[in-house]
Symmetry: C2
Subunit: 383 residues, 2 copies
Amino acid sequence: MKLTCTQSELNTNLSLVSRVVPSRPTHPILGNVLFVADAETQKVTLTAFDLSLGIQTSFAAVVETSGKLTIPAKLLSDIVSRLSAGEITLSDTVNFDAEAGHLVTLISASGRYQMRGMSADEFPALPQVQSETAISLPVEALKQGLGSTLFATSPDETKQVLTGVHLTVGQDGIEFAATDGHRLAVVETKNLDEDNQEIEPFQVTVPTRALKELERMIATKQPTDAVMLYFEQGQLVFQEGEQRLTTRTLEGTYPAYRQLIPVQFQRQLTIDRKQLLGAVERIGVLADQKNNTVKFSIDSTNQQLSLSVEAQDVGSGQESMPIQATGDDLLITFNVKYLIDGLKTLATTEIQMLINTADTPVILVPLGELKMTYLIMPVQIIR
Amino acid sequence: MKLTCTQSELNTNLSLVSRVVPSRPTHPILGNVLFVADAETQKVTLTAFDLSLGIQTSFAAVVETSGKLTIPAKLLSDIVSRLSAGEITLSDTVNFDAEAGHLVTLISASGRYQMRGMSADEFPALPQVQSETAISLPVEALKQGLGSTLFATSPDETKQVLTGVHLTVGQDGIEFAATDGHRLAVVETKNLDEDNQEIEPFQVTVPTRALKELERMIATKQPTDAVMLYFEQGQLVFQEGEQRLTTRTLEGTYPAYRQLIPVQFQRQLTIDRKQLLGAVERIGVLADQKNNTVKFSIDSTNQQLSLSVEAQDVGSGQESMPIQATGDDLLITFNVKYLIDGLKTLATTEIQMLINTADTPVILVPLGELKMTYLIMPVQIIR
């Protein structure tokens, strides 16, 4: 293998795939990145894979000799990221001392580095998804779906399917859902191509970590770029241009969350989102000293919402703001963190809170185009 | 006590003093900030003190009723920093329930908070320095002195005086010195006022933590603003405008570092600083896998410097760059971290390395106005 490319191109692509490489690989080869250089297409493909999540990316390079090789990911990207802009040549020489293995040489304008590579034959193959039916999703819709649900997944590994985002793919769009058992975020994205009319609807739960990498991968793409989605039992592939992310899916039945969302409400509040967020964050300082809850007092007559907290031995706080409210007055208590998470994500100037009683699910929705539903359970206060 | 001020003024001043407040105070009162409001001068003074380091700051406010009170620092600054711009009123009401103590009420446009304060009588007094002789130092010189030495102090608390910066105050200026036993940074600052001609020279070692807070305190000041320095056995005070920092000094004899600095050199190299820093940082990636050392090979004939590292089982690296060199060729080894620290701080386009032999102290100096000396010991390699 011998190739020459720019520092910037190599650095960008290495940074993308290196994030998948585990810091303590279970097998040495998994700490490496696979380089495949093709003299015919003048392209280099990089692959990193931790047996669950894999990322592949290709870029143009001057390939003098085709070849395959794996190189220690952290070492290589630490050096490449510190090199000045300019050309880099990577080549391997099979060292005939079998124990020493492959030696990779990196040459830049300022110096020369050698690292021990490993044979590409040992590198595990990324799962191949045979499915010919691809679903196409605009980058914008995917960003919206991920950005509005990823925060609500459970970080607790024992929670199985709750550690992922559930995708319901239909002919009209994809619904993203995430819950950690305390709150639920659901977003419907439309905007699929007409080609998608052919597809078989399916449901799948995807690990949070893979979707966070996907978010990063598409961060710099154009809103209308299309991401292709291939699904086969146990595997999901996202492809955009030269970049491909492969992830295993989570096994197990996802909760039937739709039936948790009430269809009728006794009370409806319209509130300035930033004003409410600011008040909850300030009240949260005191709530943090106690059980992390804030009491909402809804006053329909005066069209006012009051937030309060009493932290014994520490202090108390109270904030008020004008709202538009229908329904009777109510006292209802919420967990500060779940409120703040939702208010940060909803991202419109105004939001609606849809409430029945002080001990049934409450829904927050943005007042805008995005079809998002955020459900939180009020906190039951023993009186 | 009753005062009204802007959120921005209160927030800025609280942030400054709160940094001194320990997160786990040995006595509850030390977790508080002392407020002193004076109706006559229409000023509020805030003080925080951990018995070693104290910061005091004053600002203008509408003081309706004079008074003193201490308020929990973290709670108050967490709330104030989250408030919107606008007016804030702080007042205390002595609660006649003796156990409950003072109640402080904060009123902003959006809400109302109450916190438990403690009597100002319990707050320890900042040490008073009687010395009438003040030394005046421009902010610029102080910034230079701190910025060029603080990094070289020892973080190891058992190292006593080495955990501080040593100041030698004379009639012509202040010399700042710091060493952790492996390297030494010395900076001479001039530019004292003529008034300083009267002062008695003295030497003092000041804890790193206090000087880091001082650095922060003067960060936004004008270069020519004067910082007044008052010294008395065991205490040092820095005062700039309305702000005052008081610190205990470190006891013990500071090493006689001047005698470590050679006066004659067999070799002198002039090197582009950023080029050398980049090379050392890249080589450092591989050195990190081994003993963190880099080998310098000085080639006077070709006016070239080569850096190299051999990390067995991992790889090797080599970089070269043009230099201006006098003296014979030499192989000499350095610790990567000490080199990088110095090269980052020297801050001129070119630097000089002054070398005698491979096992005697090496000096780095900037090629510019700043009178800085950075000494590192080469690493002895057993051959």
